[in-house]
């Protein structure tokens, strides 16, 4: 049986989580295969919530499958598709089904996905969603009604270390800590010098007296660096051009471009492993969150490259 992520986060020196995406359709065989492959290799598995605004099996259903297969799930919950009633209902349902960790996100905009005509919701934002989790944890809903049975979620959030400009991002980061985020999983980082500077700023913020009070009861906020597996030079360039907040340095793109034919993915795995190794050795932050988008079966290889396999 997997250990509670809450305990792992406070006790383990270097935490590793990975992301898996639910299927579009009812065939969960690949998902289950990924769960079985990864459940003992990482500390928790995030499940995306209609990732990139593409309609799929819900995060909650996949989280339940993770529990049934002996893993520790982190429910990703976005504000895109649900109003405050549906969000709270989803959270209560997740708790009832055994999910104990939730990552609160804004969510991509609907026009980016496969149902671009859909009505976007965004009734709450990610900070307000974190506060909502806090309310449910205290046995009340957003309207102040008492619950018959409270939740006790560990809430997490995301932050983009490469955001430009960074200052508004840092202000929101501090709000998320105040709103109850106990861990952060960052957008992808590739330039570790820049990430080091981000961490210095984040740590300064967390030492702020108000945020320190927030953390006194539950232990320090943990930050896991996002690692997105690069599969080719083309993919890296695409992300630089089209994915805000991601900056793959040119030397890594050249490294991928220089790979032998058919070996770019192998080079991408080496790069990811190297980044993780460096973050671990330099203790840049408290762990990593691996996003192998569609290549979940290669996560063990990344961990082996990092010397954590």
């Amino acid at each position: 049986m997997a250990r509670a992520f809450r305990d792992v986060l406070q006790e383990k020196e270097f935490v590793v989580t990975a992301e898996i995406g639910p299927p579009k359709g009812t065939d969960v065989s690949r998902l289950v295969h990924h769960i079985e492959l990864l459940r003992d290799r990482v500390d928790a598995l995030n499940v995306t919530d209609n990732q990139s605004s593409v309609m799929r099996v819900s995060s909650l259903a996949a989280c339940r499958l993770i529990l049934e297969h002996g893993g520790e799930p982190i429910l990703q919950l976005t504000c895109r598709d649900r109003n405050r009633l549906a969000l709270q209902s989803e959270l209560l349902s997740a708790w009832v089904l055994g999910v104990r960790n939730v990552l609160c996100l804004t969510g991509d905009y609907v026009t980016l996905g496969d149902h671009p005509e859909a009505k976007p919701v965004f009734d709450l934002d990610s900070v307000q969603l974190l506060q909502t989790v806090g309310r449910l944890n205290q046995g009340q809903d957003l309207a102040g009604n008492n619950l018959e049975g409270a939740t006790d979620f560990l809430a997490g959030a995301v932050v983009t270390p490469e955001a430009d400009p960074l200052e508004p991002q840092l202000i929101k980061f501090a709000k998320k800590v105040r709103a109850g985020a106990r861990f952060f999983q960052t957008q992808a980082v590739y330039d570790l010098e820049r990430f080091r500077r981000f961490m210095e700023q984040a740590r300064r913020l967390m030492a702020d007296s108000r945020l320190a009070t927030e953390q006194s009861a539950t232990g320090p906020v943990k930050i896991l660096a996002g690692i997105v597996l690069l599969t080719s030079a083309k993919m890296a360039r695409y992300m630089n051009e089209h994915v805000p907040g991601i900056m793959v340095p040119e030397h890594l793109i050249q490294e991928l471009a220089g790979a032998e034919k058919g070996k770019a993915l192998q080079v991408g795995i080496q790069i990811a492993g190297r980044l993780i190794r460096q973050i671990y050795l330099d203790r840049l932050c408290d762990g990593v969150h691996i996003m192998a988008i569609g290549r979940e079966e290669r996560v063990p290889d990344i961990l082996a490259e990092a010397g954590l396999g």
Binding site: C79, R80, R84, T106, G107, D108, Y109, T111, L112, P120, F122, D123, L124, D125, S126, V127, Q128, Q131, L142, V158, T160, A163, D164, P165, E167, P168, Q169, I171, K172, K175, R178, A179, Q187, P244, G245
Partner: protein
């Protein structure tokens, strides 16, 4: 003001179907300023419809009139004298004007020639952009006069999402990120402290449709009301 755009001519023709007597009714206020449904645009639309009717060998009478405002009953009344001469009233007002026209002349088929887009401002010659969602609970005091409810596609109240991209919005790179604008404006004003407070979830009750506003002076029982 209300900003609108004319529907494609093909769509307007489809709506008109086989109507033989058409009165194009313009509006001299917002939609005249945004060059979608004022006197000039009505003249152009009537001309285009006439030409197409002639080219198709179709008998169709197309007349035009432009009212000061279509969203005020008093300006609609003069039409009563001759509205019976027409099968169809084709309105180039915003959606509100079209509806009041249809309400005033409820025995007539009233058709919309425009798509109403938003409440906005003139950004430059021939360019308008949205500024207000009419949410009924203005929060511009907290955001340096820049509305995140309108200008952020996700109506975020507590800062930018991860899609902010060098000051632009990932949803439409032509648009500035509202939260980058807000940050810069408050920085300039020396009021970044306004970003400190966590904004609570918005109350959407004022947006319950259809909304109504009654001026206190006109409410019965009000000391300033009708005697």
């Amino acid at each position: 003001m209300i900003v609108a755009e004319r529907k494609p001519l093909e769509e307007i023709e489809r709506m008109l179907a086989d109507a033989e007597r058409v009165l194009v009714v313009g509006c001299g206020t917002c939609v005249a300023v945004c060059m979608a449904g004022g006197e000039k645009e009505v003249e152009l639309l009537a001309g285009q419809l006439r030409m197409r009717a002639e080219a198709a060998g179709r008998r169709r009478r197309i007349d035009r009139v432009t009212l000061t405002r279509q969203c005020d009953r008093e300006y609609l009344d003069p039409l009563a004298a001759y509205v019976d001469e027409y099968d169809v009233l084709l309105s180039t007002a915003c959606g509100a004007g079209v509806q009041l026209l249809a309400e005033r002349f409820d025995g007539k088929l009233v058709l919309p020639a425009l798509n109403t887009r938003f409440i906005g401002v003139a950004e430059g010659p021939g360019l308008w952009s949205q500024r207000c969602l009419a949410c009924g609970e203005c929060l511009l005091d907290r955001t340096g006069g820049i509305c995140p409810v309108t200008r952020c596609p996700k109506n975020l109240l507590n800062g930018p999402c991860g899609g902010t991209n060098h000051g632009k919005c990932e949803v439409n790179p032509e648009n500035d990120c509202a939260w980058t604008l807000i940050y810069r404006r408050l920085e300039k004003l020396g009021r970044l402290d306004l970003l400190d407070a966590i904004q609570p979830p918005k109350d959407y009750r004022p947006m319950t449709k259809p909304a109504r506003v009654a001026h206190p002076a006109f409410q019965t029982g009000s000391p300033a009301g009708p005697k």
